[in-house]
Symmetry: C2
């Protein structure tokens, strides 16, 4: 009777990892969405709440890391389970970082909430964040369903986020050049945009992990993870 019991306990451990990771995903998505809502409404109380939630993700990452190492040591899992458990560690680390980026946006909301902000560009940031959050949500679904195909298509769609980010970068720069009074707020918005673009990169990282967990192969074609904003040169009109 001990064998089925052991297997059940092991299954429970794997399910625990998977459930804890889903919880982290939900928290991370919520933080980013709330940070953008706080930005749009200049809502510093909401921004403060986002900042405080970051601890939950730090804790989640630690717990998953410890549990994963314990499970591997105790159960000596077969290759596919092993990939999934190590994948959990990697994904937890990406989600923790997504939370950091959400928190950083929230901090900037508090810094700039009294300043005039270009409505059109803030809406652009909101759109960017919707795309990034869709990627994040879908890649976590792909992890649950072990879908290499879905992981592949998510990675390819990151280019759209990069393109929109680069165009926002250019517009924010132009806005700063038009009136130096915009510089302080727009610099923070630039970093908010960069943070959202990075959230898209983390979704891409997770997609790569999901692909490896599902297939045992790493995605071979290197996707350039960088956006093009590093190459944007804008001179003032004068």
């Amino acid at each position: 009777m001990s064998e089925p019991h052991t297997v059940t306990a092991y299954d429970d451990e794997l399910r625990w990892l998977s459930r804890r990771l889903s919880e982290m995903g939900g928290i991370a998505e919520g933080m980013v969405a709330d940070a953008l809502t706080a930005l749009i409404n200049a809502d510093t109380a909401l921004a403060q709440r986002v900042i405080s939630e970051d601890l939950l993700l730090d804790q989640g990452e630690r717990e998953i890391y410890e549990k994963a190492v314990l499970v591997i040591a105790k159960r000596q899992p077969m290759a596919s389970d092993l990939r999934e458990i190590i994948g959990s560690i990697r994904i937890a680390s990406d989600l923790e970082r997504v939370g950091d980026l959400g928190k950083n946006i929230a901090k900037r909301v508090i810094s700039i909430h009294t300043m005039a902000q270009p409505k059109k560009l803030v809406r652009g940031l909101e759109h960017l964040s919707e795309l990034a959050l869709t990627q994040l949500k879908e890649v976590l679904d792909a992890f649950s369903s072990h879908s290499a195909e879905q992981a592949n298509s998510i990675r390819e769609r990151d280019e759209e986020i990069d393109a929109i980010y680069t165009s926002l970068f250019r517009e924010l720069l132009t806005y700063m050049m038009e009136d130096p009074r915009n510089i302080s707020a727009c610099t923070h918005l630039l970093f908010c945009a960069k943070n959202i673009e990075r959230i898209g990169d983390h979704a891409t990282n997770i997609a790569e992990t999901v692909f490896y967990v599902a297939t045992g192969q790493q995605m071979t074609v290197e996707r350039p993870k960088d956006d093009e904003s590093a190459s944007v040169v804008a001179d003032p009109a004068e």
Copy 2:
């Protein structure tokens, strides 16, 4: 006779991981140092070389990931070896990201090399990068020597990098406000500074991994990994 042979092969695998990680560390450090040299000398050829080297780190990370999973599956290592092997995966991921950040600086060098740059602030960036590279070098030494104590002191020193970064952020903002012609170059310098500050954070992440590998315990006191620049508010003088 098969047992000693197996142990030796296993030791070889662990040594391979450790050596490959050292190589990655050397490449990452070199890329960041070269990116800064390229920035200071407006040397686009050097910047181009940094960009091309990034592939080496992508490849290193993949190889370490695959090898680590294989070694765990094959050898079913004891807890301390297991922590070290999983630690290798985490550290490889941090080093790959350091390379990305170095590459991103190099791309910006190419964008702004013809523009006037505030010499004092570029020197400030150089100083910041020297601190970050020292952290990176020392934390890789700490990994080799399994020194929890050294890992601890490295994590604490990250505050200095954050403080200098925040002060550079403020100065760059002021510079942009003084003359809109500085905006384009200074925005890229702002992101270069942010990249260097992030490299310091990756050294901190590695310190946390080293501590866990060495002790089996996670660092308990949460260090705020964020700099204070998100809270900088600077208005134009007018």
